[in-house]
């Protein structure tokens, strides 16, 4: 056939195929005319082309694969039953393994039932497949472990290759996941067992490379058994050699199982990123896969979902799995963290060994166990008084052991710790109304730890930022600049409480220390807090100084549980920093005092309430100060060691009594009692600033900030300290840093505005101040911006500020000084004097402000000055 004729055929074929039936026939007859051969040719093509689905529509490789599979099915199963292969009598097929068909068989020599795995025949012809089959047997038989399926024998009989393995009754983890949710303790048990199996495999240099739910069998007793070392690989000296062989480079384990048509899930879903990209694989790859399995056990969803394998592979390499707590909100956050860590894309950020992962899982397991026993106890089971018994975790021993084995100095790991953060303890009570109690415990732990002078302990404001966080510890530690992190959990029910805590090295998430404090009564909670803090302190600081010792050993008294409760609620509401919260706090503190009139902390709490409301002008300040002072006197009479009471008293001396000497005395007492009491130090720095000892003030303020790096107010205050000390560049930097933490903190914008103004950068100054005003229209801010406008000759803008201030004064209190200052700056002396005349001494007249310089020659100003000059005595 020549090309021309073929072309004609083609044209006719396509034209005709668009027509149907009779039309097509008549069209062809007309077109072909006498050329019957042409007609026949086109027609026969049309008839063959009308078959809707032919085998050509399926890719050749699939056609062939299906044929091979059909052969295997036809040939093997029924024919084998009852036959004997070597010394095994085949009973019946029990499943399809990754590398072959599985039969139950009887070992005729040992009279036991085994599982016999046969290499499919089409694979038996392939030397590589045969080699792999044998390798599986060898890899697994090298491992004798309760959580690894035992391999009895690898052999050949009747031309068939087989492996005889332990017959396991139960279900695969895949089936278990499909059956329904798995409770956390079962997840942990399986996870720990598989970690254990991997630990053993990795120790002998074997990487499994195909960890997935269908390769884990849960026996009827619930024990997990790891199967299928079919693609396991030995690492070590052979690695380089092996990677040169192409068969090794091929990801052979990609046996895809589709559960529903069109949804491609399968073992790709459990591959590590380095497997997915064909990179070098080591033990950490198995840990990733285990992480994916745990994710699925927890959420019953794949961490890397996708309809196409390409999508799944891409997700493994580039995407974060959907957050577990969104899918299964009740998952303990520590478990979430373990899974997150195992699923790190970068293998250097993952667990570095199965041992490490197992240790974390075990700690979590014990914690849950602790919570559960408490629950049991409360359910009315026999209550065993556990007193001061302390349970050391195995992980602690492991650390010690490791140090011993690897020759690290026995006190080396924890000795270097100079800074630490206590993360908010976890509430294991499962009752969010117990939050105040758990937060109270966190607070107490922080306060107690600050007794160690050599240790920088992050203050609660910064620590509380991480409540319920998913951030890796490494990141948290980086943000807070600490060398160690304390994590823990509190379980409380009625008057019983349990705490567990761990000291963790954030660089590798390793537990340096862990302790579980068994049930105590709430009345002994102060003792418990003290013990816990002292144990952590000893661990990080090594030997405590005698002073520190005495701080920890100072006798803690029992508390009335109800009074303690009321006190904690008071603290909780005080911390909310709302008018409503203050009122509630006051009631709870009062309640606490009523319940236990000898409970010093409750008096101090109530005193703090009064001090705060005095500052905030919620109540007439003088009375509030007096009340606070009286309460503190009582508190200190009962407990002279309360650094907080001394600090508050110091504040009162400074602010209310205007007695810096007395203030300093109290603050020093507080700092002696607790060198890490940041309230005391903060106040002391303020005291120094007031005295004009600016550099010292800044040094102390910086130290406060190091303990509380995320607290916005402290950051902004340091900015102010710099500004007041004329260290403008540092002020600008510090305030910019503050605004990174909270871009909407008005005071920081305002201060930054002043700093720019000092540097004559007017445009920036105005921008910042406008921003501050837009966030919070305080009258003094309007006035300060107005003054700047006036100084820069922007009369219209300045007058606009005055207008707004005047308007504002009809609705709320605006000090007349504010308006007078802008007028004075504008040169409108009459108006300025008029407004100043309205001012009273309590209006903060700022009569010496340079803004009034233009008025100083006016005799009326002299009179005003005399009337408004600041009271020598205290304002109160």
């Amino acid at each position: 056939m020549n090309a021309e004729r073929w072309q004609i055929i083609e044209t006719l074929y396509h034209s005709a195929s668009e027509l149907s039936g009779d039309q097509r026939n008549s069209f062809l007859r007309r077109a072909c005319g006498d050329d019957h051969k042409l007609f026949q040719e086109v027609e026969s093509l049309l008839s063959h082309g009308s078959t809707p689905q032919t085998f050509l529509d399926t890719p050749a490789i699939t056609v062939l694969a299906k044929a091979i599979a059909a052969d295997e099915h036809q040939s093997s199963a029924p024919l084998l039953e009852g036959k004997t292969i070597s010394h095994y009598r085949v009973l019946h097929a029990i499943g399809q393994g990754g590398m072959g068909v599985l039969y139950e068989a009887e070992d005729l020599k040992l009279r036991r039932h085994v599982a016999l795995k046969l290499l499919p025949q089409f694979l038996a012809r392939d030397p590589q497949a045969r080699a792999r089959f044998v390798r599986e047997a060898q890899a697994a038989s090298a491992l004798n472990h309760p959580n690894i399926c035992t391999v009895y024998e690898v052999g050949e009989g009747r031309g068939l290759h087989f492996i005889a393995i332990e017959l396991l009754e139960g279900e695969t983890l895949k089936e278990r996941i499909a059956r329904g949710p798995i409770n956390v303790s079962d997840i942990l048990r399986t996870a720990i067992e598989i970690c254990d199996a991997l630990e053993a495999a990795h120790a002998t240099g074997i990487i499994h490379r195909d960890i997935k739910p269908s390769n884990i069998i849960l026996t009827k007793r619930g024990t997990a058994k790891l199967l299928d070392f079919g693609i396991a690989k030995r690492v070590g000296t052979e690695v380089l050699e092996e990677t040169k062989s192409l068969s090794e480079l091929m990801p052979t384990h990609l046996d895809i199982r589709l559960t529903t048509p069109g949804t491609a899930i399968g073992t790709v879903a459990y591959m590590s990123p380095e497997q997915a990209s064909g990179g070098q694989i080591d033990a950490r790859s198995d840990l990733f896969s285990l992480g994916a399995v745990l994710y699925e056990m927890t959420t019953r969803k794949s961490p890397f979902p996708g309809n196409k394998i390409a999508d799944v592979l891409e997700a493994i390499q580039d995407r974060q799995p959907p957050p577990i707590e969104k899918l299964t909100p009740k998952t303990p956050s520590r478990l979430v963290r373990v899974i997150d860590r195992a699923l790190q894309k970068d293998c250097s950020l993952r667990y570095q060994s199965a041992t490490e992962m197992k240790a974390d899982l075990q700690v979590l397991g014990r914690r849950l166990e602790a919570a559960r026993t408490t629950r049991k106890t409360l359910m009315g089971l026999a209550l065993v008084a556990v007193g001061f018994s302390i349970v050391f975790f195995v992980s602690l021993r492991l650390v010690r052991f490791r140090q011993f084995v690897f020759g690290e100095p026995s006190h080396g790991v924890t000795r270097a710790i100079k800074s630490l953060a206590v993360l908010p303890l976890e509430n294991l009570t499962g009752d969010s109304s117990q939050e105040y109690f758990v937060d109270g415990m966190t607070d107490a732990l922080i306060t107690n730890l600050t007794k160690v002078s050599s240790l920088r302990v992050i203050s609660r404001t910064s620590a509380m930022h991480y409540k319920g966080t998913r951030k890796p510890l490494r990141e948290i530690a980086g943000e807070l600049n600490v060398a160690a992190v304390v994590e823990g959990a509190v379980f409380r029910s009625g008057d019983r409480v349990r705490i567990s805590a761990q000291l963790v090295d954030p660089t590798n998430d390793r537990n340096l220390w862990a302790r579980n404090y068994d049930e105590r009564e709430v009345r002994d909670v102060l003792q418990l807090q003290n013990e816990l803090a002292s144990a952590v302190a000893q661990e990080v600081a090594g030997r405590l100084t005698p002073d520190e010792e005495s701080r920890f050993s100072s006798k803690t008294r029992q508390v009335n549980p109800e009074a303690y409760e009321a006190y904690l609620k008071g603290e909780y509401f005080l911390d909310k920093w709302t008018v409503d919260g203050f009122a509630k706090a006051k009631d709870y503190f009062a309640q606490s005092i009523n319940l236990d009139p000898s409970y010093a902390d409750a008096y101090t709490g109530l005193a703090e309430y009064y001090a705060i409301v005095a500052f905030m002008d919620v109540v007439p300040p003088r009375e509030a100060w007096l009340k606070a002072e009286g309460l503190l006197a009582k508190a200190l009479k009962m407990d002279t060691n309360s650094s907080r009471a001394h600090t508050l008293l110091g504040m009162i001396k400074l602010q209310f009594r205007c007695d810096p000497a007395a203030a300093e005395k109290e603050l020093n007492l507080a700092l002696n009692l607790n060198p890490g009491d940041m309230h005391a130090l903060d106040l002391h720095s303020y005291y120094l600033l007031e005295l004009g000892r600016r550099d010292e003030a800044i040094t102390e303020k910086r130290s406060v900030l190091q303990h509380d790096p995320l607290r916005v107010i402290t950051n902004a205050e340091l900015g102010l300290y710099f500004l007041n000390s004329g260290r403008i560049d540092e002020a600008i930097l510090q305030l910019q840093k503050t605004l990174e933490l909270d871009p909407n903190y008005a005071a920081a914008h305002m201060r930054l505005g002043f700093a720019y103004e000092k540097k004559e950068q007017h445009r920036q100054a105005i921008t910042e101040m406008q921003k501050a005003i837009s966030l919070d229209r305080k009258p003094d801010r309007l006035a300060q911006l107005g003054e700047i406008y006036a100084r820069l000759g922007k009369r219209q803008e300045a007058l606009e500020m005055v207008r707004e201030l005047q308007q504002m004064s009809m609705q709320r209190y605006v000090s007349p000084t504010n308006i007078a200052l802008v007028y004075s700056r504008l040169g409108q002396n009459e108006a300025a004097i008029a407004w100043l005349q309205k001012a009273k001494p309590s209006d903060d007249p700022r009569i010496s402000d340079t803004g009034f310089d233009a008025l100083r020659l006016d005799p009326r100003f002299k009179t005003l000055e005399a009337r408004l000059k600041p009271d020598q005595s205290c304002p109160y």
């Binding site: 050749a60 044929a67 392939d126 031309g159 990609l254 199982r257 070098q280």
Partner: protein, 197 residues
């Protein structure tokens, strides 16, 4: 385990790319080295069908075959032009290897040199399919003489498992052209195979 953490091995994709290039420029050694890749893929799929047999599930084969390329050359990292080029080479490679496989299987079935496997007498399906595959290969050679582009379309679609769009890109023609070519070539081949010319 320390050695395993050292230098990463060259990605298999680059190795395969090199081999594919070598093969397409006539290096028969390369073919030998490439064979395991396709065989593995075949085995993998066969396994799947074996496992899925009971529940009579079907696979979305187009999506699956696509994965062959993904794994062969890591297409995610290859630009479209190159990808089209490699699709062409891959399809040719798969044709060659699959047909060889079918041929060797037929040969063995007829009492070839393989060790006698007592229990495997009933392997008839693959025998039939194998012959069919060989027949397509033969017919395709004839089609190539008549219309090279249509033959190429069949090679890409059937042996390579490519989608219409990818075939179009590989050949540098429009999607419509591929669809028309595919339709006619299929009709032609089916008629050829039914041997009622």
């Amino acid at each position: 385990m320390s050695t395993a953490r050292g230098e990463p091995a060259p990605a298999p994709s680059s190795e395969v790319t090199r081999l594919l290039q070598a093969w397409s420029s006539g290096d028969q050694e390369a073919l030998q080295q490439l064979m395991p890749f396709v065989y593995n893929e075949l085995h993998r799929l066969a396994h799947h069908y074996m496992a899925a047999e009971k529940s009579a599930q079907t696979l979305q084969t187009t999506a699956l075959v696509h994965e062959v390329y993904l794994r062969l050359v890591g297409v995610r990292k290859v630009d479209w032009q190159n990808r089209a080029h490699f699709y062409g080479i891959c399809a040719r490679l798969m044709r060659r290897i699959l047909v060889d496989f079918a041929r060797s299987r037929n040969y063995q079935k007829r009492g070839g040199h393989f060790p006698h496997i007592e229990l495997a007498e009933a392997a008839t399906v693959s025998l039939a399919v194998g012959s069919e595959l060989l027949a397509v290969d033969e017919a395709l050679k004839e089609l190539a003489a008549l219309d090279a582009r249509k033959s190429a379309v069949v090679e890409l679609r059937f042996f390579g498992g490519l989608q219409v769009e990818e075939t179009a890109a590989a050949l540098g023609v429009s999607v419509e052209t591929v669809m028309r070519d595919w339709k006619l070539a299929k009709a032609w081949l089916l008629r050829e195979l039914s041997s009622e010319k």
